[in-house]
Amino acid sequence: MSPAVAARTQVGAPPPILAATGLSARYGHVEALHGVDLHIGEGELVAVLGPNGAGKSTLLRAIMGLSVNSGEVRFRGDVLPRSDAVAVASRGIVLVPEGRGLFAPMSVSDNLELGAYRLRDKAEFNRRRERVLTLFPRLKERLGQAAGSMSGGEQQMLALGRALMAGPKLLLLDEPSLGLAPRVTGEILETLGLLNREGLAIVLVEQKAPLALELASRVYLLSLGRIVAELDPRDITSHDDLAQHYFA
């Protein structure tokens, strides 16, 4: 742990919503993440930036327990199981994965319903659904349509909407802007900002730095499976700053 991080996590500060220590992950015999330490505060929006292949997706998958991984991940102080994504998701940690993971042949409405799979309270279900459809009015027009038949932007909205149906306490987003028009990306990031201001903790993984920097309160730079820097977004003024860190 770097001195700066250590100082911030010392006495007085509330425990982070998520803290990973020595988190490593491998695909077969290849280790793709090497002992990463990170922490996310309650209500914080943290960006994880890094070039293609830096291990950003692997990091999120390791937190969920999807990839073969080792190390310790604590959620509000409790140790999370390392190979049981269902259990991790049930705690309220929701990952919107790379490629969105929608149930493409199923309707928009069914996709939203499955996001709230574990919720049995009908009134709460209706409240969340109403909220999602208010955030993304376009989904309301397409409730009966197959998820896979929508545009990329609409699919990303559905993926986010489905994640919100779970009532997440921590939202992990893997490149939500990938393949989307700038205008749509803007809309989605605006919604993320709104959710974060309401107190939702978010980890936003992005390749396109400028978008994420506008929202994030802190930035981790990931390169070759290691966190190479932890930065205040206000200190990053140009792309060159980032590039320097990657190759430092």
Binding site: M64, L66, A85, V86, A89, L95, F103, M106, R162
Partner: protein
Amino acid sequence: MADWSYIPQVLVSGLGIGCVYGLIGIGFCVIYNASGIVNFAQGAFVMLGGMITQVLFSRSGVPLPVAALIAIAAVAVLGVAIERVVVRPLWNRKATMFVMILATLAAQIVIERLTLIAVGDQPKTLPVFTDRPPLMFGSVAVGYQLIWIVGGSLAIVGLLAAFFGLTRTGKAMRACSINREAAALQGIPVSRMLALAFALSAALGAIAGILITPTQYTAFNVGVPFAISGFIAAIVGGFGRPFGAFLGGLLLGLLQALAIVGFGAGLKNVAALSVLLLFLFIRPSGILGAAK
């Protein structure tokens, strides 16, 4: 040469057996969709459905409907047991499809042999559910058991459609078949869905076995031929498409019935396997197109 005036009558009986193949085929699809596993113990479920009902009814004097319900429940429990004991340990080790097929086939053989030891090798049958003379439509006789088979199968297909289309659990099972990892990320208990798929599939097999037994017979070794026919039905319909499998079963039943009239009963299986080969050559994705 055969007497082709029997054709309508033959088609009617082909429809009955076709429904049974269809139900077995659906059983294959339900498990395949939940897990990617082709479960060759499916035939054991069919055999045990008829056999347990027969034993309870004839030996213990349990009324037929009660015996049938007990048999369906018992076979469903057995399905879960096979999932836990045979499939799950292999699944966790990411065994290949080939290993899974062998393992489930082994389970089939064990069940078959245990049944042989328990009840002997004599064929057994059940009385028809409604003992009345067949209905006549012109020269075509439609027995009440056939009405039970077709009506029962259609009711089950309807219930399954409602289950997969309307209930959250049914939708969650479909979600697992589309993208297991994404389903887990929604907190859907993927492994419990697999157990549920085995229970459902086993119950379907048992129902098929109970429906067909009064028109034929049951014995310890009827499972494998039924499993093969159900498997062909699933391939013809488009593997992983439950309703395609039902259509495939109907098609197979009708063609087999025609083949029996046209070429004699000895060529019944030749007809079935020819249909399989034909589809594998010309339309490998089946009538509705394979699910994956």
